[in-house]
């Protein structure tokens, strides 16, 4: 394609995203609550054969993670059997003693998971994070595909690309499966509201999956422990809640009392089995970056299988030898706090000033338990459109995994791209962009004559 024609299509995609109001909010952009979603029009292609193995690995991983969460809130076999130290679990910020003794439907706690996958320069695929709390981005995956279809319709005729649009349907089915006792449960998505960075996605998913879009103030918990929403007919019961609010804010009676976003009493209702909450409260414990290091052991322990997908090699600073190693090699490593998401509060050694490195040296020495370190992966790159030329930019991949009575993995997922040359930070909250991701079946070439 000629450069001019290509530039034209880039412009079309930008106008399209803006007009359709596909936006993302950056908290620090004061006064401007919407930013157009930065979209790169060059799709990233992954061969189907390769993807099938990844998909299998993701299913394996989520099965083990869910069994782990179920275990630690009940018998705690993994601790009793000496696979994991007790304090790693019980002192994790994501551990909620209020969840002890609970078994959600199907024994599944993390119903919606958005794992981050990266590939290093040698081509090895790693799971970087599991993201079991309230992962976002799936709406952008769907919108990216829609936009690519409008901008490059001819390519879909030439290639065999797996469709992604079934996600909302699978989401609705999965949520319904959380109330096997009801034939037609009332299902809702609980959003923190319009000022949340992912509000667009909340509204989009509610609309696409037929969920009622709720804010905390729309709900109350009755004396009978059921959750009710305030409607023009009066109060109506809600049976399943897909919450996009962190544990901390979900119930001011139990967690943060200053939360204006949550619903007082909702934990009581959940514990009484009168409402299903996805993801289940307390499941964030498995997002802890120290616990992450044990996932391969969990897979072996619960499933008696070898992990299909690799973990990034991780040093646990709580161990003295690991800490020594980390302190000696600090400028080469990536250091992450155990319990943050979105790329906040971390050190990327090779890209940081000496001052910043020293700052982390102090943090690690004072509070080693709260940190892990990993080698700086030189992430794989993908051709990306930058100021009218095409240049390599680092990418990762976030597939979405739904677990209810069954497990569904999106074909591909959201490819996030670091728009700044050399940058490894792909987080949308820190200015990263995204690409449409194609799982291409190369064994089935479609002829142009078709």
């Amino acid at each position: 394609m000629e450069k001019e024609a290509f530039t034209q299509r880039v412009k079309e995609s930008e106008v399209e995203m803006l007009e359709r109001g596909i936006t993302f909010t950056i908290y620090s952009d004061a006064g401007n609550i919407d930013r157009a979603w930065p979209f790169d029009i060059i799709p990233r292609a992954i061969p189907k054969g390769e993807w099938e193995r990844t998909e299998k690995g993701l299913k394996q991983r989520i099965r083990a993670l869910n069994q782990f969460i179920q275990d630690i809130y009940n018998e705690g076999h993994i601790i009793n059997d000496g696979i994991m130290p007790a304090d790693v679990v019980y002192q994790s910020k994501g551990y909620r003693k209020e969840c002890h003794g609970m078994t959600p439907a199907h024994g599944v706690w993390a119903n919606i998971c958005g794992s981050d996958l990266v590939r290093d320069h040698e081509g090895t695929l790693y799971v970087l994070e599991d993201n079991l709390r309230v992962p976002s981005g799936v709406a952008y995956m769907l919108e990216n595909r829609k936009t690519t279809k409008r901008v490059f319709p001819e390519l879909f005729k030439l290639l065999n690309i797996s469709p992604v649009d079934a996600y909302p349907e699978h989401l609705a089915e999965m949520l319904a499966s959380l109330r096997p006792d009801l034939s037609n449960p009332t299902m809702a998505l609980l959003t923190p509201g319009i000022y949340n960075s992912a509000y667009f996605e909340h509204a989009f998913l509610a609309q696409q999956a037929g969920l009622i879009l709720l804010e905390g103030a729309d709900l109350l918990v009755g004396d009978d422990d059921y959750v009710y929403m305030k409607t023009i007919h009066g109060l109506e019961r809600v049976d399943v809640i897909y919450r996009r609010i962190d544990d901390d804010f979900i119930d001011p009676e139990v967690f943060r009392p200053d939360s204006m976003l949550g619903v007082p009493g909702i934990m009581r209702s959940w514990r009484a089995g009168k409402v299903a909450i996805a993801n289940a409260p307390g499941c964030g414990v498995a997002d802890d970056k120290v616990i992450y290091a044990y996932v391969p052991d969990m897979i072996r322990y619960y499933l008696n299988e070898e992990p299909i997908l690799s973990n990034v090699p991780t040093w646990l600073c709580r161990n003295d030898e690991d800490l020594d190693h980390v302190l000696q090699h600090l400028p080469e490593l990536v250091v992450k706090p155990a319990n943050e998401s979105g790329g906040y509060g971390m050190l990327v050694g090779p890209h940081s000033s000496a001052e910043k490195v020293e700052e982390f040296r102090d943090l690690l020495t004072n509070d080693p338990k709260n940190y892990i370190a990993q080698p700086t992966l030189s992430l794989s790159v993908s051709p990306t459109c930058c100021d009218e030329t095409i240049a390599p930019r680092h990418v990762d991949l976030r597939p979405f995994i739904l677990s209810g009575d069954d497990i569904y993995v999106t074909p591909g997922g959201l490819t996030r791209v670091a728009m700044v040359e050399g940058s490894l930070v792909v987080n949308s909250s820190q200015g990263g962009g995204s690409k449409d991701t194609w799982i291409v079946d190369e064994s089935r070439q479609i002829m142009e004559e078709d």
Binding site: L18, E19, R20, G21, I194, Y199, A203, F204, A206, Q207, L211, I212, L213, L214, E215, A217, D218, L220, M229, K230, T231, I232, H233, G234, L235
Partner: protein
């Protein structure tokens, strides 16, 4: 349906109707002033009086000129009734009701908002301003078309329609207050000379000229125009049509029927209008009362469906 969502779609409709009416009013008024001599009772500032915004206007602008008045009514971010603020309110309400609205409605609202924002700097230019106002009207019509053609006749639809008709009745009544000016005994000779144009303009502001002519041939008699705009049963922007429509949609909604009683009373008063019983000098008072009643109706809708007392249920 959630009470909060009901409230948001109701206000979405009110603001959307307000945007369209504001655009049409300014567009038609501009055309009218091109035909009139200067220094008449009808001038640029008439627009500010229609919006009851004289006081706020004077706190910002010492003089009454086209430029300041247009800026104030269209693009002033600090005046709540400006077109851009109404349009932003449409957008905010649409953004928080995405799950009940047809997808295209949000896209259209968003597009219109982007367009108006980018064109606001050019409203000093009369030609470009008129063009922008036409686009705004078309876009509003397009949104209502999408709602009519793509939306199930559900509660959200009922609240949208009730909001639209209530807002329309309010706006029509404000414009009819002008009629008092046109019919007053001590009106100027200049005004008397241009009476025909002025009545025609009044009809055009409400998009009523063509339908009026069909119903009454071309005779532009003040009394006939008033009667047409107050109580014509067939014309969808007449006051009684709007108030009757509010009832048509509220009727489907669950709960208290007292709201309907109030709406019925307002309708009955409009039906009782006649040129003999209501001489021109009483029109202003009648419209003031109507606006107060519509306000009460709004309050009643709000407490009935948006903020009911849940402890009672």
């Amino acid at each position: 349906m959630l009470s909060r969502v009901a409230e948001r779609v109701y206000w979405l409709a009110r603001y959307l109707e307000r945007v369209e009416n504001t655009a049409r009013l300014i567009n038609v008024h501009t055309a009218l002033l091109m035909d009139l001599p200067e220094h008449m009772e009808v001038n640029w500032f008439t627009l500010v009086t229609i919006f009851d915004a004289e006081q706020i206007y004077y706190t910002k602008h010492p003089r009454e000129n086209e430029y300041d008045i247009m800026h104030f009514l269209l693009s002033d971010p600090s005046y709540g009734g400006s077109l851009i603020n109404n349009l932003s309110a449409v957008r905010e309400n649409a953004r928080t009701s995405l799950d009940v609205l047809p997808e295209e409605v949000w896209e259209q609202v968003n597009e219109l908002h982007l367009l108006v924002k980018s064109e606001l700097s050019s409203i000093g230019n009369r030609r470009r301003r008129q063009k922008l106002l036409l686009t705004v009207m078309e876009s509003c019509q397009c949104i209502w078309g999408m709602i009519a053609n793509h939306m199930s006749r559900n509660y959200a639809y009922d609240f949208l329609q009730a909001g639209k008709h209530l807002e329309r009745a309010d706006m029509t009544s404000r414009i009819l207050e002008l009629a008092t000016l046109l019919m007053s005994d001590n009106r100027s000779d200049a005004l008397r000379q241009h009476e025909g144009i002025l009545w025609a303009t009044l009809l055009r502001v409400l998009n009523a000229q063509q339908m009026y002519i069909q119903a009454h041939n071309s005779s532009l008699k003040g009394e006939k125009v008033l009667a047409f705009l107050i109580q014509d049963n067939a014309f969808p922007r007449s006051l009684s049509f709007s108030v009757k429509s509010i009832g048509n949609y509220l009727e489907y909604l669950p709960g208290d029927k007292r709201v309907l009683e109030l709406q019925g009373e307002i309708l009955a008063r409009l039906k009782a209008y006649s040129a003999e019983k209501n001489p021109p000098e009483t029109i202003r008072l009648m419209m003031d009362e109507l606006q107060i009643s519509l306000n009460r109706l709004n309050t009643s809708i709000t407490s009935n469906w948006f903020y009911p007392d849940y402890s009672a249920s």
